[in-house]
Amino acid sequence: MSADTVRFSEERLAEIAELVKRYPGPQSALMPVLYMAQEDFGYISMDAQKMIAEVLGLRLMQVREVVTFYTMFKEQPTGKYLLEVCTNAGCMLNGAYELADHMCGTLGIRMGETTPDGLFTIAEVECAGACGGAPVVQVNNIYHEKATPASMDALITQVRADGGVE
């Protein structure tokens, strides 16, 4: 994608104009706008960052330092299904590492990698704030609590059978 093709739609630009009004300054709209870009383009490329800087009247550096500071903003494409396994204290005490190992085995990839067909990316994440349902796996930001090797295998099998259609 080049800088010319990475453009928000007119609807998005109108939405952003409304959003900016909710804050004392336009820079506050940066994080919500980054989420919009991620939703529209799949990830936040350098060209998208330049375009966002322009839209909000910010310097590219102001956009870059936010994109790189927060882990939920992705500068690279991920698999269609992003599987995020929490391995922090509560989940670890309830078998999160064993679950993560099992999922990597089922997917045939290592932690942090994407399957060759582009369907799945698996990542280890920090506390998801749902420790009562440990272990927790987020699938495209939807929480799966008390996840088990069997429940995750079923999910992976289902996605594969559907060919990745949601």
Binding site: R22, Y23, P24, G25, Q27, S28, A29, L30, M31, P32, L34, Y35, L58, Q62, E65, V66, F69, Y70, T71, M72, F73, T87, N88, A89, G90, M92, L93, N94, V125, E126, C127, A128, G129, A130, C131, G132, G133, A134, Q138, N141, I142, Y143
Partner: protein
């Protein structure tokens, strides 16, 4: 609301309506008492009365620091010519904490009502809920509830004809633990990396866009409607003095029924774990209890009977924190757990203070080699030195939190570390 006006009968405040289905819908919430007392507050109360009731209630911030909420509100300077902002801290990132999520997804109108009341008391025109990015579902629930509240004139211009106007916006974080620190949260809400600011000036004087700002936790704000309805004295009679009210405890780890339990302050750790959480998965006495989230020092079996209050937990050598209790039974590998927490803090350090940026890295690297059987005799000294040189030498408390698990491990279970080191030297 089914909360009793007799403080002795009260067992829950924030979770009073939590089990009612579809409570996130305004019509259902209203049937169950939401916004019932709001017109009285907007029409018959003034700022001084509200702040006074909250002061009298004795409520202390439920996010972790335990600072008296009424006092915090009273620090806000008036008539400065600048707007005052109200920010709800819904970042909920402290490992072990998951209580605010339940308030937001099951009873969002309780939080919204509390924010309107707080906003009215502090003369706030624009309020924000800063919610951690991972809570997408909860952000959506809140946004739907807020839209319904606007449509019913509970938010926006001239709320219920009272003359008071307030806007409320949900703002998602994006995966940075440090943004739970209030000045980092403010930086983040300004569209910057979440790096904590030096204090003073405190946010009450100079916060969001350098204007007076109050930052309160979800649970704190969700308690405000009950405090105003039943009175500060009523709240002060629940729990025990200086530790008043009820508190939600998020219990996780090796218990049979992990989850959120709201109980009056002063309930013992043992009662909570045995009567509410169905006891331990293995054995009868916990090996380690982290009482207030991963950043608080560990307690061991000798403190199993400690009443859950700010003061008693401090006396026991730890903190109540956010009320996140992580329980470990005899099967826990404490060296591995400490290594995992060391990784967390190294990952989440914002990097602006050298003792934290470097110290958290050292703790992780050394814990990793101790766990992996590659440690050496001097490692204990390195861990101690690094930990002791972090606390109190940084802008925020993240470094102190990072040192807590390591120092706890070395203090309570030196033999666990020595066993690993002995294996290493073989």
């Amino acid at each position: 609301m089914t909360i009793s006006s007799d403080p002795k009968q009260v067992t829950q405040i924030c979770f009073d309506r939590i089990n009612i289905p579809n409570q996130n819908k305004l019509s259902v919430a209203r049937e169950n008492g939401a916004y019932e007392f709001l017109p009285t507050v907007l029409n018959d109360f003034d700022s001084a009365k509200i702040i006074n009731e909250v002061k009298t209630s004795g409520i202390r911030g439920r996010g972790g620091a335990g600072f008296p909420t009424g006092l915090k509100w009273s620090f806000v300077p008036r008539n400065t010519g600048k707007p005052t902002y109200l920010l709800c801290n819904a970042d909920e990132g402290e490992p072990g904490t998951f209580k605010d999520r339940d308030i937001m997804r099951f009873d969002p109108h309780l939080l919204i009502e509390g924010m309107i009341m707080a906003g009215f008391a502090l003369d706030v025109r624009d309020a924000y809920i800063y919610i951690r990015g991972e809570f997408l579902h909860e952000a959506n629930v809140l946004n739907e509830a807020i839209a319904e509240a606007y449509a019913a004139n509970l938010l926006g211009e001239n709320i219920l004809g009272s003359g008071y106007s307030m806007n409320l916006t949900v703002h998602r974080g994006a995966g940075a633990y440090v943004c739970g620190e209030e000045t980092a949260l403010i930086e983040s809400l300004e569209g910057k990396p979440g790096r904590p600011r030096f204090k003073p000036p405190f946010p009450a004087v100079e916060g969001f866009y350098r204007c007076p700002t109050v930052v309160n936790n979800v649970e704190t704000l969700a308690t405000v409607p009950a405090i105003l309805k039943f009175g500060g004295e009523w709240h002060a009679s629940i729990g025990i003095p200086n530790n008043t009210g009820c508190k939600i405890f998020s219990v996780s780890g090796h218990v049979n029924k992990p989850g959120n339990y709201e109980v009056p302050m002063g309930t013992s750790l043992k009662t909570l774990i045995e009567d509410y959480c169905g006891g331990l998965q293995h054995g009868s006495v916990p090996k380690v209890i982290i009482p207030g989230g991963s950043s608080t020092p560990w307690l061991t079996a000798e403190h199993y009977d400690t009443p859950l209050t700010y003061d008693d937990l401090m006396k026991a050598g730890s903190f109540l924190g956010s009320g996140a209790i992580i329980v470990m039974d005899e099967t826990a590998d404490l060296v591995a757990l400490t290594r995992r927490l060391a990784h967390f803090y190294a990952h989440e350090s914002c990097g602006q203070c050298t003792p934290c940026r470097e110290g958290t890295g050292w703790l992780e690297r050394v814990m990793k080699r101790v766990e992996g059987g590659k440690g050496c005799a001097g490692d204990v000294t390195v861990l101690k030195d690094a930990s002791e040189h972090m606390a109190g030498r940084t802008i925020c408390a993240l470094a102190e939190g990072a040192a807590a698990p390591v120092l706890s491990l070395l203090k309570h279970f030196p033999e666990d570390v020595q066993t690993r080191l002995a294996e290493s030297s073989k």
